[in-house]
Amino acid sequence: MSTDRTFDQLRPGAPGGPAQHQLADLLAAAAAPARVEELAREQDVMVAFRQARPAQTPVPRRQSMIKLALAKLLTVKVAAAAAAATVAGGAALAATGNIPGPLGELGSGELRQAPAESAAERADEARAEAGGVGEASPSPSLEGLCVAYLAAIGEGPGEALESPAFEALVSAAGTEDEVEGFCDGLAERPGDVPSVEPDTVPTDRTPVELPKPEDPGPPGTIPAPEPPPGTATDR
């Protein structure tokens, strides 16, 4: 049978008449790289994967920046409040003793268990976090995305921005090329706690990043425990 040879002849650049070329174009178009909208439900599938996989050692934080950002979207108000409190210092923290359990714990800094990362990356995050701290910040979720973006940028900005998770970031920044500048601008916006005492930075900042989706504990931090509506009802 000749199908395999047929497919070979249809590779781009292969000899052939115009019809052959058109057919090759058509097949190439059918198999073209993914478009953003085709990956729109990636996050749902990732949630399902996380729930289905066996318990295991925590993955490095770098790998979970995107879902981290999404978790932040949900907890952003509480997190922002906590962050504001922690940055303002111990007195403020004491004053907000009514912060709900998990976050109160986080505020104490006891749960700082994130794996060590490069100082540069941590610095990036800290900078972005500083941008998210002020209570006047208009859209904390964008800052969460910026944190994720700046952390993921080492893997190539273009690739990172292909994730649907960053769509909002891209649209806020204007174009993909402007995202980095946009995030830097957010992080360095004047009036936002320009510099904090060095000793408070690591312990006070990390707690904000801790509500990870895979933590079973804190209620309200897991984006979507159920499968997407309407997809599995009959199974």
């Binding site: 497919f7 073209a32 478009r35 996989r53």
Partner: protein, 217 residues
């Protein structure tokens, strides 16, 4: 035991989230396009989600490499699509073609599709006008990237039968393209025939194929 420890599916099975994400991104677009032709664009996302839920659920018992996973995904996807069609009590393929033709993208879709002037949607719409066995053979080979043997296992056929079907499908596509090229300039009738049943399929191939090509230009 793990001779191919680099396989994404092995790492995913061990709980590596990023490996699974990479696997998803590699497999899902083709799967979704295959399903679009099977159940129509409107339902393909839902069927794909059902498929992934099952893949995720059964991943721990899956044995095989990334290629085998691809074939498994196609098999599960096809089964879910058939379930879906049974529930819907309707036939595959035809409405997908018309639907896709109606929503052919304009020039704003060029970013990812710079490969050629033919958009992915138009290409799928054209493939969807083929008889089902040919369309599936072409899609499994070209879009899902399966070899004839693996495609045969998905379809419950022998590899030779898949080769024949794919060959016929490609030949028919070439004819459609050729016809459309010869007719360049003719204004298409506004209505692409719906080709909603098997008897109308033969006419539908040429007509809606032509319409698709006109849209492509």
């Amino acid at each position: 035991m793990k001779t191919v420890t680099d396989a994404l599916v092995h790492r995913a099975r061990d709980g590596d989230e990023e490996a699974f994400r990479a696997l998803y991104r590699a497999v899902h677009p083709g799967l979704l396009r295959y399903l679009r032709v099977l159940v129509g664009t409107g339902d393909a996302e839902d069927v794909a989600s059902e498929t992934w839920l099952q893949l995720v659920r059964d991943l721990s018992s899956f044995r095989g490499d990334d290629d085998a996973f691809r074939a498994w995904a196609a098999t599960v996807g096809r089964n879910r699509a058939m379930d879906h069609l049974r529930r819907q009590q309707r036939r595959p393929v035809a409405d997908a073609a018309v639907e896709s033709l109606d929503e052919l993208p304009g020039g704003d879709d060029t970013a990812a599709g710079a490969l050629s002037a033919i958009s992915t949607d138009a290409a799928l719409a054209l493939i969807a006008t083929l008889p089902a066995d040919q369309a599936e053979a072409v899609l499994l080979r070209v879009v899902m990237g399966l070899d004839a043997r693996a495609a045969g296992r998905v379809l419950g056929k022998r590899a030779g039968a898949v080769r024949v079907a794919a060959h016929r499908g490609l030949r028919r596509l070439a004819e459609v393209l050729d016809t459309a090229r010869a007719e360049t300039g003719d204004a298409p009738a506004t209505a692409a025939p719906t080709a909603a049943d098997d008897t109308g399929r033969e006419a539908g191939v040429t007509d809606s194929g032509t319409a698709a090509l006109k849209e492509m230009r």
